[in-house]
């Protein structure tokens, strides 16, 4: 299998154009929120002192109201790999603020995404191969139930049961408050222990859709004409199921999986609130509430770039999974 250079060039150009559009939107969107951050801070903290508002504006580089001027500044900064200074973390650079929160988000959301897809696919395949059995029926019923309850409900339920009543796991936070005085192994244990409930809750919450998508796709694939042909050719049941059935049924799930990977960087705000967990989600949410333009822009740019990068990667991998794509 050889990948077509024209195909690669098209995908890369599309990714670059999307990134450019994201940068422009990224600049404009935060500014559509009414209110000037400097005036907001002055009004809330300084009895509205105009002198303080002016001084804060100067501090934040907002003394020039022209959008064009601010956009130019933004592009120049970006060209230098500089995401600016966060207003509410002043004078810490945005990149530093984001990098500080990113590992927590990556750790929890990535693992829960992988776990959830792995478990969802296994259950989905088994359900499709043995339709109508008690396993399939139970999996469907549980999936529909989980799909219909909001995430925070699952999170709170796990906290109340395993954190409050049974006291098996901590009710929140990323590690114990004694963390600083623990040994390296103790720190590792503390982080892992505190990560259990957030990971499990996120995995459970997204599990249902993975089960349903793969089960339904595989059920359909198994009834296709090519499956009958494969059987007529005398191919083994295992080969028919996995190389013909699962491989075809897997395509939409693979797209979903790659999209989920792109969203890993965006974090999970509700999980972070429910479990008092540090991460990008809350950081972005608070940045929006605080009108912290540079941080909003930095966070959105990072999220957009990661989604675009993972999508590009998916586009490049796709011809290997589905050779028809490369012929476009």
């Amino acid at each position: 299998m050889r990948i077509q250079p024209a195909y690669v060039a098209r995908r890369v150009a599309f990714a670059a154009a999307t990134l450019l559009a994201a940068i422009v939107m990224n600049f404009l969107l935060p500014r559509l929120i009414a209110g000037n951050p400097a005036e907001m801070i002055a009004s809330q903290t300084a009895l509205g002192s105009p002198e303080v508002a002016e001084a804060i504006k100067k501090q934040f580089g907002l003394e020039n109201d022209s959008l064009l001027y601010q956009f130019k500044q933004y592009l120049v900064q970006l060209a230098h790999g500089n995401l600016g200074i966060s207003y509410f973390n002043y004078p810490t650079p945005v990149s530093q603020v984001l990098l500080h929160a990113l590992p927590w988000t990556l750790g929890i959301v990535l693992i829960s995404t992988l776990l959830s897809y792995a478990a969802g696919w296994l259950v989905g395949i088994r359900g499709a191969l043995k339709p109508g059995t008690w396993f399939d029926n139970a999996a469907l019923a549980v999936s529909f139930f989980i799909n219909s309850v909001p995430y925070f409900w699952i999170g709170i339920l796990l906290i109340l049961l395993f954190g409050y009543k049974l006291d098996w796991f901590p009710m929140g936070q990323a590690f114990s408050v004694e963390y600083d005085s623990l040994s390296a192994a103790g720190k590792l244990r503390s982080i892992s222990y505190h990560a259990v409930l957030p990971i499990v809750s996120l995995a459970i919450a997204s599990l249902a859709s993975h089960i349903l998508v793969l089960r339904n796709n595989l059920s359909r694939a198994l009834t296709e004409d090519y499956m009958v042909l494969a059987r007529a050719k005398g191919l083994s049941s295992r080969r028919r199921t996995f190389q013909y059935g699962v491989r075809n049924a897997f395509l939409p799930s693979f797209t979903g999986f790659m999209l989920s990977l792109g969203h890993v960087v965006g974090g999970a705000i509700t999980m972070e609130i429910v479990f008092s967990y540090p991460g990008i989600g809350m950081l972005t949410y608070n940045a929006i509430l605080n009108h912290d333009y540079p941080l909003i822009q930095g966070a959105f740019l990072m999220i957009a770039a990661s989604i675009i990068a993972v999508n590009l990667l998916a586009d490049l991998i796709y011809p290997f999974i589905d050779p028809r794509v490369n012929l476009d």
């Binding site: 209110g35 907001m40 801070i41 009004s43 300084a46 009895l47 509205g48 002192s49 002198e51 303080v52 001084a55 804060i56 100067k58 501090q59 966060s86 509410f88 002043y90 004078p91 810490t92 500080h100 929160a101 927590w104 990556l106 750790g107 693992i111 992988l114 906290i159 109340l160 409050y164 009710m171 929140g172 936070q173 990323a174 590690f175 114990s176 408050v177 004694e178 963390y179 600083d180 005085s181 040994s183 720190k187 590792l188 244990r189 982080i191 892992s192 990560a195 990971i199 609130i273 429910v274 008092s276 540090p278 809350m282 950081l283 608070n286 509430l289 605080n290 009108h291 912290d292 941080l295």
Partner: protein, 562 residues
């Protein structure tokens, strides 16, 4: 054979699980925040309040919502990027404003201070026992440096202490006396001195106070900063504290993202107190444990239905008065705030300001709930009910958008109660929800009819009443320069406030009463309640000082393990 295969499968599963756990741990471990004073080794206490005996550190755990952007700096000059309540434990100001009794308690000042005869000079003798946590001596130069820094950096002078007719100079007279010279009499000065934490000159003078992150804060307070991470801020007792060494060894401020999580931790006994954050619907459950207490005091935050006095319909004082009369504040406090709030003064000044509050307004029948009277007032003023049961006059229907906070169950419940009462006096409302910062943003810009929100004032009665000064407002569409979000203007109140700003204590008291009476009468805002509270637990600790907030530094420095 099958058993062997099963064991192998389990081993694989366990191995994958272990790898995943290690991944999250190692990814996250790289991210743990800096810990300047963190102990390099040693075992942690097994429980939050370990026994004092046996050499283990007695650790008191306090909970609060501390977001990541609040841990960027520990510079008390800055209003953003830090968790302000932390400064109470590490630093001191010259005076502490006690919101429980509305009084000033000398901290770094040795006494109440002395005014010159013309009211243009205020001399403060300093507390000779105080010293910096790094062992350096605390002197008058530190105080002078702190106030001079506000003068040199306008962005830090939030209350414009160096503004017109205020501070002219701050001078040291020897090591233990500071004199504040004023351009004009400014009797509120001591109150404002309680808003400025004194910083060490020997550390801050080397830095730019506008950008200094002060990652290793050194103060004169009861607790010494130890470390910070994503779960907690850890402070240890200051053995040399001039108020006497705290009886707890460690104060841990556990970080939460929301009030339900914090309240559950309080209920479970994981934390022993909170600086005020609490999920009100969980209060009855929390207080089922007799050791859990809720200290309640007036405080400086007044919750109100903020009325836009510039909007058609709401311009009319009769309509505002009808809104005021429709609201049953007692029921609101009982059902909405679970009894954990103080009924508000129709004249706005919080009861935390003690004798200056016009107490007669609280029982005055003119300001008690009275639906019939509200209807009479409106019909008497020519309003007539339309087909929808809503009053209207000259084509203006008394139908308004009512903003309340999103994700705040108690506020939403109260909004439902209030809008129901308003419908009974023929005032229609459409409820809209917005986040807390959005509510402030909308209020500042004036794009609203009615907002249910809190107004927090500095610890100064003059500033609290100046909320209603016309200089603190702006037309709709422009941000107000002050807290007069109501767009209220009254020449009489302006004149009285200007007169009070330089008047003697006795004259001010009289003027403040007149101002409160006029505010109550013109109803620019419908005051609901004031809300100062500190939940705390006596399960493991005792000796809280409830003459000040129970979880303040002054109280926690007295707390002892049971």
């Amino acid at each position: 054979m099958r058993t062997m295969r099963n064991i192998q499968k389990w081993k694989k599963t366990l191995a994958i699980g272990a790898v995943m756990a290690m991944t999250v741990a190692s990814l996250a471990a790289c991210s743990s925040q800096s810990k300047p004073n963190a102990p390099s080794s040693g075992s942690a206490p097994a429980s939050s309040a370990a026994a004092a005996a046996g050499g283990q550190t007695v650790s008191y755990r306090l909970g609060d919502i501390v977001n990541p952007e609040q841990t960027n700096n520990f510079n008390p000059f800055l209003k953003t990027g830090n968790y302000a309540p932390l400064f109470d434990y590490i630093y001191n100001s010259l005076y502490y404003f006690n919101p429980v009794k509305g009084e000033l308690i000398p901290r770094l000042a040795a006494d109440a201070g002395t005014w010159s005869g013309d009211g243009k000079s205020f001399t403060v003798k300093l507390n000779s026992q105080a010293k910096w946590q790094d062992g350096e001596a605390f002197t008058a130069n530190d105080v002078v440096y702190t106030f001079q820094a506000l003068k040199e950096h306008a962005a830090l002078d939030y209350y414009r202490l160096w503004g017109d007719n205020r501070l002219k100079d701050v001078k040291a007279a020897g090591d233990d006396t500071v004199t504040f010279e004023l351009s004009a009499p400014f009797p509120s000065l001591p109150n404002y001195l309680s808003t400025v934490y004194i910083v060490p000159e020997h550390l801050f003078s080397k830095e730019n106070p506008e950008t200094f992150l002060n990652k290793n804060p050194i103060g004169t307070g009861a607790f010494v900063f130890q470390s910070i991470n994503e779960s907690a801020i850890i402070l240890k007792a200051n053995a040399d504290y001039f108020g006497g060494a705290p009886k707890i060894g460690e104060l841990v401020i556990q970080r939460f993202k929301d009030s339900p999580g914090l309240t559950l931790a309080l209920q479970k006994g994981e934390i022993q107190g909170s600086t005020g954050t609490l999920a009100m619907p969980s209060l009855p459950k929390l207080l089922e444990n007799k050791d859990n207490k809720l200290q309640q005091y007036p405080g400086l935050s007044t919750y109100a239905v903020i009325i836009n006095n510039d909007k058609p319909g709401l311009k009319d004082p009769i309509v505002r008065k009808a809104i005021q009369l429709a609201i049953d504040k007692k029921e609101l406090v009982e059902k909405g705030e679970m009894g954990a709030a103080t009924i508000g003064n129709p004249g706005f000044l919080s009861q935390g300001f003690g004798d200056l509050v016009d107490q007669t307004l609280l029982d005055n029948p003119d300001y008690q709930t009275n639906i019939d009277k509200a209807n009479e007032l409106l019909t008497g003023a020519g309003y007539k009910k339309n087909g929808k049961g809503v009053y209207e006059k000259d084509g203006v229907e008394l139908s308004f958008v009512y903003y309340t906070a999103a994700n705040a169950p108690a506020q939403n419940k109260e909004a439902a109660m209030i809008t129901d009462w308003l419908s009974k006096v023929g005032i229609g409302t459409t409820i809209k929800m917005a986040t807390w910062p959005e509510l402030t943003s909308i209020a500042v810009a004036g794009n609203y009819d009615l907002i249910q929100n809190g107004i927090t004032v500095p610890p100064d009665p003059q500033a609290a009443l100046e909320v209603f000064h016309s200089k603190m407002t702006a037309p709709i569409g422009q941000n107000t320069p002050g807290l007069n979000w109501m767009r209220f203007r009254d020449d009489q109140i302006d004149a009285w406030l200007d007169q009070a700003s330089t008047a003697s204590a006795a004259d001010r008291a009289g003027l403040y009463k007149q101002i409160q009476d006029r505010i109550a009468e013109l109803a620019p805002v419908a005051v609901l309640y004031t809300s100062g509270k500190a939940p705390y637990s006596e399960t493991k600790f005792t000796g809280y000082d409830t003459t000040v907030p129970a979880t303040s530094a002054l109280s926690l420095s007295q707390v002892t393990p049971k």
